[in-house]
C-alpha cells in the first residue's frame, strides 16, 4: 500500500520540559485508510497529531506528507492544505461570522479566486449536509453541526487527509454520530484518508488500523481485532475497554462459553443466541 504520511523516528520535546513528549515514534499512514490513534491523556497522541501538519516540528526525525516535508518552510502551506484538522472544541475553531464565511476562511488564506470559492463552498457544504445553514451564525448551531462545518471548510481545500483530534469528545451522542457518519462517507466514497485521534475505544473499533500510544511511545499497531484482544496492553495504556468486550469477558468469567471477547454488540448478540 502507498503511504501518504510517514513519521520517521520522531522525538519531540515541549520547550522547557525535561522528558520527551514523543520518543522515537515511527508510523506510516496509508492512502485511503482509516487510522485510529488511541491513548490516554498525556500519551502524546495530540502532540503526534499536531506534528502531522507542521503545527509542531519534531526535534529529531522527520514527518513527510507525500513528497513534502513539514520541516521545510516552503512545503508547510501545501501540507496544511492537504492535511486538514478538526479540533476538539467546536467553538474555538469557528473563525467566520457565518457558516459560509467560516468555510471560506481556509480558501481565502490559500488565495482561491472568489468565483471558485463560491463553487467550492456550495459543493462542500452539500457533502456534509449543511446546505440549509449557509447563512447561519455559529451560536445558532449545535456542536455536531459546527464540527460538520469545520469538515466542510477542510473539504473545500481539497485535502487528501483529515485528522480528527478528539473531534467528537465534546459532542452529545447525536452530534457524535452525525460527525462520524459524515467522515465515514468521505472515507469510503471519496477515498479521503482519515486519522482519528481518540481515547474512546468504541470509536476506534471501526478503524482499519489502530495505533496505541503510551507514555510518548508507540505501544502497539495493528488491526482492531488483534489490538483489542490484548487486554493487558490496553489496560496499561490507561484505556477503557469497549462495552461489548467487557461484557463478553464478564460473561466468560461467569461460565458462559464464549470462545473469545467480542468487539461489537452485533457480534456478541450473534454469539449469544447461538449458544446451546
Amino acid at each position: 500500500m502507498e503511504s501518504i504520511i510517514s513519521v520517521k523516528d520522531v522525538t519531540f520535546f515541549y520547550p522547557g520540559e525535561e522528558t520527551a513528549t514523543l520518543k522515537n515514534v515511527s508510523l506510516d499512514v496509508y492512502k485511503g485508510e482509516w487510522l485510529s490513534i488511541v491513548g490516554h491523556n498525556g500519551s502524546g497522541k495530540s502532540t503526534l497529531a499536531k506534528l502531522l501538519n507542521g503545527l509542531l516540528l519534531p526535534n529529531e526525525g522527520t514527518v513527510n506528507v507525500s513528497e513534502y516535508v513539514t520541516a521545510r518552510e516552503d512545503d508547510i502551506w501545501e501540507i496544511r492544505r492537504q492535511v486538514g484538522m478538526v479540533f476538539q472544541n467546536p467553538d474555538n475553531q469557528f473563525v467566520g461570522t457565518s457558516v459560509q464565511d467560516d468555510i471560506a476562511f481556509g480558501l481565502e488564506n490559500f488565495g482561491v479566486p472568489r468565483e471558485e470559492m463560491i463553487k467550492r463552498i456550495n459543493e462542500s457544504v452539500q457533502r456534509v449536509g449543511m446546505e440549509a445553514f449557509l447563512n447561519q451564525e455559529p451560536h445558532q448551531l449545535s456542536g455536531g453541526q459546527k464540527q460538520r462545518v469545520a469538515i466542510a471548510g477542510i473539504l473545500a481545500q481539497k485535502p487528501s487527509v483529515i485528522v480528527l483530534d478528539e473531534a467528537t469528545s465534546m459532542l452529545d451522542p447525536v452530534g457524535r454520530i452525525e460527525v462520524m457518519e459524515t467522515v465515514r462517507e468521505l472515507n469510503q466514497n471519496e477515498g479521503i484518508t482519515v486519522i482519528s485521534i481518540t481515547h474512546d475505544l468504541e470509536e476506534a473499533l471501526s478503524a482499519d488500523r489502530v495505533v496505541v500510544m503510551k507514555m510518548g511511545e508507540k505501544a502497539a499497531e495493528g488491526k482492531p481485532d488483534t489490538i483489542f484482544q490484548q487486554r493487558d496492553l490496553l489496560k496499561s495504556a490507561g484505556l477503557d475497554l469497549p462495552f461489548s468486550l467487557k461484557l463478553s469477558e464478564a460473561l466468560r468469567r461467569q461460565g458462559v462459553e464464549l470462545d473469545r471477547g467480542y468487539l461489537t454488540q452485533e457480534e456478541l448478540v450473534n454469539a449469544l443466541w447461538k449458544l446451546a
Partner: protein, 265 residues
C-alpha cells in the same frame, strides 16, 4: 436572559439605505459630521432637517428604534440647550424675573445646538441601524486599505473586529452558564449594596477571562492549521459592490453641502 441578543443595533429590513454599499454609507456619515457644522440659520437647519427626515424615511427603520438610540444623549441635549438659554446674553430680553434674564439670542442658540446634536446622532445611528457590524468592518477595511502602504495593520484590525463580533454571542452564552453555576452554589448577583454586587462579579469574570485566553490560543492554532499567514495574498469571499445608488447618494450630499455654503449667513 442573554439569549436573543442583537449585536450592535442593526435593524434588519430591505430598504434603499440597507442595500447601499457600506463604504458609501461610511463616507456619507463621516462627511455629514462635518457639514452639520456649516448650518447657522433657520434655512440651513431646515435644509439639514429635511435631508435627515428623507434619509430616515428611506431607511424604513421604525421611529421607536431611532428613539432608543437617542435616549442616552437626550439629557445632554436638554442640558446644553438650557445652558445656552440661560447663559447666552445676546439680542432682546424676552423674559426677566429678578436675577434671571432670558435673551432671544440664547433661545435661538440653544435650539440650534440641540438640533445639531440630534442630527448628528440620528445620522450616525442610521448607519449602524442599516448596516451589519461585519459590513461596517468590511467597508472600513476597504476604505482604510491605502493606509497599508504606511504599515498600518488594516487587515489585522479588520480580522480582529470580525473575530470579536463572532465571539460576542459565544462569550455571552458562556457568561450565562458560569452565572448559573455560581448561582447554584449560592452566589447572589442581583441584591445587596452595589459594593457587594460588584464583588459577586469577580468569581464570574475570572473564569470568563481564563476561558477567553484558552479560546484565543486554540483559535490561533486552528487558524494556522487552515493556512492563515497574514493578509498577504489573501482573497476574499465578501465582496462589496458599488452601485449607482451609492454614487447618487454621495452626489446628493455634495449638493446639500453646496446649498449649505450658499445659504448660510
Amino acid at each position: 436572559m442573554l439569549q436573543n441578543v442583537i449585536i450592535g443595533q442593526y435593524y434588519p429590513a430591505s430598504s434603499p439605505l440597507h442595500r447601499m454599499d457600506s463604504r458609501s454609507k461610511l463616507i456619507a456619515a463621516f462627511f455629514y459630521l462635518f457639514i452639520v457644522f456649516l448650518a447657522n440659520n433657520w434655512i440651513t437647519y431646515g435644509l439639514l432637517i429635511a435631508f435627515t427626515a428623507v434619509t430616515i424615511s428611506a431607511s424604513k427603520v421604525p421611529l421607536r428604534f431611532l428613539y432608543k438610540g437617542l435616549k442616552p444623549i437626550l439629557i445632554l441635549v436638554v442640558f446644553t440647550m438650557l445652558l445656552h438659554i440661560f447663559l447666552t446674553k445676546e439680542g432682546d430680553v424676552l423674559y426677566k424675573a429678578g436675577w434671571l434674564e432670558i435673551y432671544e439670542g440664547g433661545v435661538i442658540q440653544g435650539i440650534f445646538i440641540a438640533m445639531r446634536l440630534l442630527l448628528l446622532v440620528l445620522m450616525t445611528s442610521l448607519l449602524t441601524l442599516t448596516t451589519t457590524p461585519i459590513d461596517i468592518t468590511d467597508g472600513l477595511e476597504h476604505l482604510l486599505g491605502p493606509l497599508k502602504k504606511w504599515k498600518l495593520p488594516v487587515h489585522e484590525f479588520a480580522l480582529m473586529m470580525s473575530i470579536s463580533l463572532r465571539f460576542i454571542p459565544t462569550l455571552l452564552q458562556e457568561t450565562e452558564k458560569i452565572m448559573k453555576a455560581q448561582m447554584a452554589r449560592g452566589a447572589d448577583f442581583t441584591s445587596g449594596p452595589i459594593k457587594e454586587r460588584a464583588k459577586a462579579f469577580v468569581p464570574l469574570l475570572v473564569p470568563l477571562f481564563v476561558s477567553s485566553f484558552k479560546r484565543a490560543e486554540e483559535l490561533a492554532l486552528a487558524m494556522e492549521a487552515r493556512g492563515y499567514r497574514g493578509g498577504e495574498g489573501r482573497t476574499r469571499l465578501r465582496a462589496l459592490e458599488w452601485h449607482n445608488r451609492d454614487t447618487f447618494a454621495l452626489v446628493l450630499l455634495i449638493l446639500l453641502t453646496i446649498s449649505l455654503f450658499l445659504l448660510r449667513s
